[in-house]
């Protein structure tokens, strides 16, 4: 399955460091075969979200198989929704209602195994039920 086109993952956070760190963890756990794009912080690098950064991340991670976007909190969701309302992307795009770190890891592992957008979205959203203790 190594030559299959995999679903890409976009991590949207109020913090660039948080988005990049979660991307790094998810990439390590899933073996590095999935494109994970981090979109954290405002345009000037502060705490907040940027529609331009999210757009670039969706373009970077989007494949013909599609992309699943995970927002961290509150206005991350609003920023993603605003982008999706004003712009069409070539492949399927899904917005996940999921815990950020666990969802990113579960989504990326499912994408690495060749799951489609629906399967990757489901893996992310099921992460809210996973117990860590």
């Amino acid at each position: 399955m190594s030559d299959e086109i995999r679903v890409g993952i976009v991590l949207v956070s109020h913090s660039a460091a948080l988005a990049e760190g979660a991307a790094e963890v998810a990439g390590q756990i899933s073996g590095g075969s999935v494109i994970i794009a981090a979109a954290g912080g405002t345009d000037d690098g502060g705490i907040g979200t940027s529609i331009a950064r999210v757009r670039r991340a969706v373009q970077a991670a989007g494949t013909s198989a599609g992309v699943v976007i995970l927002p961290d909190l509150g206005s991350s969701v609003l920023t993603v929704r605003a982008l999706l309302a004003e712009e069409d992307f070539p492949g399927p795009v899904a917005l996940a209602d999921a815990p950020f770190v666990e969802g990113a890891v579960a989504a990326t592992v499912t994408a690495a195994a060749g799951g489609d957008v629906k399967a990757v979205l489901q893996a992310a959203e099921e992460a809210r039920h996973a117990r860590k203790l």
Partner: protein, 90 residues
């Protein structure tokens, strides 16, 4: 040809996040249902969060069970990852 298969291995290292990811990615490629059991806890091997949630540590015995058309291959693949990945950690 549906079947079932089972094997066990004693962990030589803790079951960290990276081997858990490797187990889940590999398990998902099989048609069979694949389950990991440690003591009284079980996890769907295709769910990385469930595998990590087992909290399996060095010295514990982990049992791999698979049911489905490729059960034997699935168990062999899981045992191979568990044998190789756990001493390294991660």
């Amino acid at each position: 040809m549906p079947g079932s298969s089972e094997a066990a291995i004693t962990l030589t290292g803790d079951l960290h996040a990276r081997p858990a990811g490797s187990l889940a990615v590999t398990a998902a490629k099989f048609q069979s249902a694949v389950e990991l059991a440690v003591g009284a806890s079980t996890a769907d091997a295709k769910s990385v969060l469930a595998v990590m949630g087992l909290g399996a540590t060095r010295g514990q015995q982990i049992t791999v069970r698979a049911v489905g058309p490729d059960a034997g291959e699935a168990v062999t693949a899981m045992i191979g990852i568990l044998a190789e990945a756990t001493p390294v950690g991660g």
